[in-house]
């Protein structure tokens, strides 16, 4: 079950700097830990995050094993047009999770 929590201001004035906060559900298993039997627990992390604003990429991040479980990312952009923000997380073992939020710019 992949779920995400997105915080985008529903309304903004044109030209405003807005904060976007995202939190997604993922175990972020580092690949360095061992089980009680001594076997290595295979790495399972999110490797990349992308945010598109009306189809244009505005933010991208690469994620690494040292990032905690359920990664929280916060970033800023300039409110230009009303429309849709799309979020995509890509990870190991074919992990893909998407979410979207809409914004009205006046």
């Amino acid at each position: 079950m992949a779920s995400a929590l997105i915080n985008v201001p529903p309304k903004a004035k044109r030209g405003d700097v807005i904060e976007i906060r995202t939190l997604t559900s993922h175990i972020m298993e580092t690949g360095f830990r061992r089980t009680a039997a001594g076997e290595l627990v295979p790495r399972d992390i999110i490797t990349s995050f992308t945010c598109r604003y009306n189809g244009t990429e505005i933010f991208r991040a690469d994620l690494f094993p040292a990032i905690a479980a359920n990664p929280y990312l916060s970033f800023f952009t300039v409110a230009k047009d009303s429309g849709k923000l799309e979020f995509e997380w890509i990870g190991d073992n074919g992990f893909v999770s998407t979410a979207s939020a809409s914004i009205t710019v006046e």
Partner: protein, 259 residues
């Protein structure tokens, strides 16, 4: 604001039960929240930065999902959880007539699965069980704790208190030695809290996941180098019940965030 006022009013209205020796008076009770730094508080306060809310979302989906051979979902009997589950977690562990002993919220979920859904029980600390209990407990946010008020629970609350004040483990410490007597001090740089169970199941940054009060109690027991009770053991349930009764009147915060 009005919610906070209602809670304060409710706390003032309830008749304060007589305190036993060493117990923290009502007006000196503080949630673990008040021992945290501003960053962790902010994380708990904002539902879009509180990782516990991810579990609540999963729990909401599970609430509506049919399970077991009866082909029923929680929602088929209980309806809208916002109505039916409000305040429920604040009175758990509750007395189960059939078993003749108190059961935790997690145990109640599994009893419901066995008796009404004909489904297999969810294992302790599994993601699905934590998600469901987080979803149910979230409906009680802000509700004052009343667990232990049922007169049938009296002997079990007393059993829990006896365990709370009993020294154990190689360090020979009782829960009360830290959480009643020294909650204003620090242990290895970390604040010793009062051990008020207001936010379970809660997201512990150390665990990187949500965990139950039983998990927290078991790690405390390992900390004093005692043999921890098994999950679901009557002793652990009694201890949980006593802790909830000890926090009587405090508002629920589930899912809380703790360091």
């Amino acid at each position: 604001m009005s919610v906070a006022r209602t809670i304060i009013a409710a706390m003032l209205l309830v008749a304060a039960p007589a305190l036993l020796a060493g117990e923290i008076p009502q007006d000196a009770r503080h949630s673990g929240y008040s021992f945290m730094g501003p960053d962790t508080r902010a994380m708990q306060d904002d539902d879009t930065s509180n990782p516990g809310m991810l579990f609540v979302l999963d729990g909401e989906a599970l609430w509506k999902t049919r399970s077991g051979s009866a082909g029923r979902a929680c929602a088929d009997c209980h309806g809208d959880a916002r109505e039916s589950m409000k305040g429920v977690a604040a009175r758990y562990p509750a007395f189960d007539k059939a078993l003749g002993r108190p059961v935790t919220l997690d145990q109640r979920i599994n009893l419901c699965r066995a008796n009404h859904q004909q489904a297999t029980p969810l294992s302790h600390e599994s993601r699905d069980l934590l998600a469901l209990s987080a979803f149910v407990a979230h409906q009680s946010r802000g509700v004052a704790i009343t667990a232990g008020d049922d007169p049938q629970l009296k002997p079990f609350v007393e059993q829990g208190r006896a365990l709370f004040v009993q020294r154990q483990g190689q360090l020979n410490l009782a829960c009360t030695n830290c959480h009643d007597d020294n909650y204003d001090k620090h242990l290895a740089g970390a604040p010793v809290t009062q051990g008020q169970p207001t936010g379970y199941p809660l997201y512990r940054l150390e665990w990187q996941t949500l965990g139950s009060l039983e998990r927290r109690l078991r790690s405390c027991m390992s900390g004093v180098r005692a043999q921890a009770f098994d999950y679901g053991a009557p002793e652990l349930v009694a201890l949980e019940l006593y802790l909830m009764a000890r926090a009587r009147g405090m508002p629920m915060e589930s899912p809380a965030v703790r360091p």
